[in-house]
């Protein structure tokens, strides 16, 4: 491939791609994101390729595998262009019909359209669906138009024009000023203003300087960085190169967690293609600026999302954080000035350059600008990734976009901010979501996980879950974190096992305060948030466990009993066959089965397999 050496070159290349694509050739775009993969999209892709071959359409129809557009619950997702028709829940059996009807004849296959569960209305185009309608998808919107392994797709949509503008027309100081003025704050957790971080690193003495893209998305329940790196890797890369130019760095890293093999693969291909075209390497676009990027894989440690731990791991050492009397922007990787930005933060940068800081800071709230991608998961109808302007209320996100709670159950709370965050109760659903409001509520933005919980979620168990997670992930370097989390977890173990005492709550609060004041890094100082926020909003639930020895949500094993609801049971024997300990006895057809409590291990399989809701929990 020929290297692009100037702005004219880039525009000529973009025009040549547009010329090639003028023919409006039909294209079948199939999502190959994580969610659709779990629903069998690989078979659908293989079947589509095969069908195109059999029908001898290879010259006439394009197939594109794309990243995640966010509507995971409805996967596998297929979009047919140029009509822009969205099909949901596509199976291998549907492929032939999609090709013969829609691709060839332009007819819509009705049964594959998305149907709104409340109104029964069918939708042909993505943009009309309620799940998408209230979103503002500046970052995710292109995912269904882009083959992440084809740089031409990104360039056709205006890609790398921000880089060209920055390198050829602006000084590093001007770029920093623009990003500062935009109000962009870090999307990885802390929410630190990105422009100010760049400026500190730019001004820090010492050479060389490093820039790092953080794709060590460790927050359980969040996967937007994965979707961006897998689905639109060039947007992240372009943001990283611009950051490097602004800071004065010639060497960069993309740190991707080990659990995301596809992200590693797509980012590697993106780097290679960008090198071939001259967006990376020596004298980029003829500007005289040099920059190279390397990918590093994480080793599966949550603490490595923390900047100093991540940099230790980049040096090939154990990922332990250090006390940050000196910031990493001054002394980071190899003790040199290092700038670490989250993937989503970087993906915003080209947008800010292209549209201007004023355009960006007109979106959002006073202290939080732009959009934020949330991973809306848990007990909500439309699970997936949603991108909304900062300041939208929780109710709008969960009820309007998310379509409300699954199976008509009652909303209990929503967990945000991952293990450093907290649970927000129903009474605060009208709270606008931004960095500051979430912190005020005792939670935090974190990387944007939003785990919806219903009446069947036990808040004590949730707090215990996060402590168990953090206990495992604590690197063990400082005592408050290593010991404090463990003791708190042990107390919660007791409470969930019916051995809790009234003084336990006070003890939890005391340990929490100590942790907050004394732990070495962010993992420890925020570790108590899940406990404190559930104590603040769901204290009655703790008290029910301690005083009445009951788990109101029916989750904590030691405090619950499964039972057969006789009037619903028809003796179909499904549960009897599934029970691993033969605790269920068949009493004859059309007669309710009998559950022997002395044998029952409370595994819950009987409730899982029952189609008649004849198994209850109390």
């Amino acid at each position: 491939m020929r290297k692009i050496k100037s702005l004219q070159d880039l525009e000529a290349f973009r025009n040549s791609i547009a010329e090639k694509r003028k023919l409006n050739k039909p294209c079948i775009a199939i999502c190959s994101g994580a969610g659709c993969s779990a629903l069998g999209c690989r078979e659908v892709i293989a079947a589509t390729i095969k069908e195109i071959e059999t029908q001898k359409l290879r010259e006439k129809v394009d197939i594109k595998t794309t990243g995640c557009p966010g509507f995971c619950e409805q996967g596998p997702l297929v979009v047919v262009y140029p009509q822009n028709i969205l099909y949901t829940h596509v199976k291998v059996e549907d492929v032939a019909e999609i090709i013969s009807k829609t691709v060839i004849n332009g007819e819509v296959v009705d049964r594959l359209l998305y149907t709104d569960p409340t109104t029964g209305r069918k939708f042909v185009h993505e943009s009309e669906i309620p799940f998408y309608k209230k979103q503002k998808r500046l970052l995710l919107g292109n995912n269904s138009n882009i083959d992440p392994n084809n740089i031409e797709d990104y360039i056709a949509l205006g890609g790398y024009s921000a880089l060209a503008e920055v390198l050829l027309d602006r000084s590093p100081e001007q770029v920093i000023e623009e990003v500062k003025r935009s109000g962009l704050r870090g999307r990885g957790g802390g929410g630190f203003p990105a422009g100010r971080k760049w400026e500190s690193c730019h001004n820090a003495p010492g050479e060389p300087k490093y820039v790092i893209a953080n794709c060590d998305e460790g927050d359980p329940g969040a996967f937007m960085d994965r979707a961006l790196t897998e689905g639109n890797p060039h947007s992240v890369l372009e943001g990283l190169i611009i950051a490097a130019y602004a800071i004065g760095s010639h060497e960069g890293y993309i740190y991707v967690r080990n659990e995301y093999p596809v992200a590693v693969e797509n980012a590697t291909i993106a780097i290679k293609q960008a090198e071939e075209l001259g967006f990376l390497g020596k004298n980029i676009l003829g500007s005289g600026f040099d920059f190279t990027v390397r990918i590093n894989r994480g080793g599966g440690a949550f603490v490595c999302g923390e900047s100093s731990a991540l940099m230790a791991s980049l040096e090939g050492k154990v990922g332990e954080p250090r006390a940050k009397y000196i910031h990493t922007v001054e002394k980071g990787l190899w003790d040199k000035p290092s700038n670490l930005n989250n993937v989503e933060t970087l993906a915003n940068v080209p947008l800010i350059i292209n549209n201007g800081a004023d355009w960006f800071n007109a979106i959002g709230t006073e202290g939080s600008k732009g959009t934020k991608i949330f991973s809306l998961v848990g007990k909500v109808n439309n699970t997936g990734l949603v991108e909304v302007p900062m300041g939208m209320t929780l109710r709008e996100v969960i009820c309007d976009i998310g379509g409300g709670i699954k199976d008509g159950k009652r909303f209990r709370g929503v967990q945000t901010g991952g293990p450093s965050g907290g649970v927000i109760p129903e009474s605060m659903l009208d709270m606008p979501v931004d960095f500051d409001e979430l912190t005020k509520a005792g939670s935090m933005m974190g990387s944007g996980g939003m785990i919806v919980m219903d009446e069947d979620t036990c808040m004590v168990d949730t707090a215990k879950y996060f402590l168990t997670f953090l206990e495992e992930e604590s690197c063990g370097k400082c005592v408050p974190c290593r010991e404090g989390i463990k003791r708190m977890r042990q107390i919660l173990d007791d409470i969930t096992e019916g051995k809790g005492e009234e003084r336990d709550i006070e003890l939890l609060e005391r340990i929490a305060a100590t942790l907050k004041d004394t732990a070495l890094c962010g993992l420890g100082t925020t570790a108590a948030n899940p406990v404190l926020s559930t104590l603040r909003y769901f204290r009655d639930e703790y008290e029910a466990h301690i005083k009445e020895k009951k788990c109101p949500a029916g989750v904590c094993k030691a405090l619950i009993q499964y039972y057969i609801i006789d009037e619903n049971c028809v003796g179909c024997r499904l549960c009897e066959k599934a029970c691993p300990v033969e605790a269920i006895t068949f009493m004859g057809k059309k007669k309710p089965v009998v559950l022997d409590q002395s044998k029952c291990i409370k595994c819950g399989i009987c409730k899982d397999v029952c189609n008649l809701e004849a198994v209850g929990v109390k």
Binding site: A34, S37, P220, G298, F302, E315, K379
Partner: protein, 149 residues
């Protein structure tokens, strides 16, 4: 001297900063990190064995014991947890008669857990040899395991 290990170290020019990547590649060649491989990495690269060992035991991705033919990864992320991942875990443990982190006696299965694999919308999620199974329940476990035995 294992040639595969030597080739991996060569690929990274024995760069000490690449220790984690080197161990990852050695593990994908040998399926786990045998003692001999760690010693070889330490000797060739001039990194104290204690440091190689500390890295190999700090990061969850590394295994110092042989793993089974099929690697089962169960996600215990928050989204999977609230939808009942622990019940799925218990059922797999019961069916295979091993606990998390262990390998069956016939080396057919290794059961591991991860704290999130980024398939949160479809939890609980199980990954077997790279293939994802979404919306899992304890009741679905046995039929999926049967495909592999």
């Amino acid at each position: 001297m294992d040639e595969k290990v030597a080739a991996v170290i060569d690929k990274y020019n024995a760069d000490k900063g690449q220790l984690i990547s080197i161990l990852q590649d050695v593990q994908s060649e040998l399926y786990y990190l045998p003692k001999e491989a760690l010693i070889q990495v330490s000797d060739t690269m001039g990194i104290p064995l204690s440091q190689v060992y500390s890295v190999a035991t700090f990061f969850k991705a590394f295994s110092l014991t042989p793993r089974g033919k099929h690697l089962i990864n169960l996600c215990l992320g928050t989204a999977c947890h609230v939808r009942g991942a622990s019940k799925v875990l218990e059922q797999i443990e019961r069916s295979l008669k091993i606990s998390r982190g262990e390998t069956t006696a016939d080396y057919k299965f290794t059961l591991e857990t991860v704290n999130c694999m980024g398939c949160c919308a479809l939890g609980p999620v199980v990954n077997i040899d790279g293939e994802y199974f979404g919306q899992m329940s304890a009741g679905k476990v046995d039929s999926i395991l049967n495909k592999y035995s």
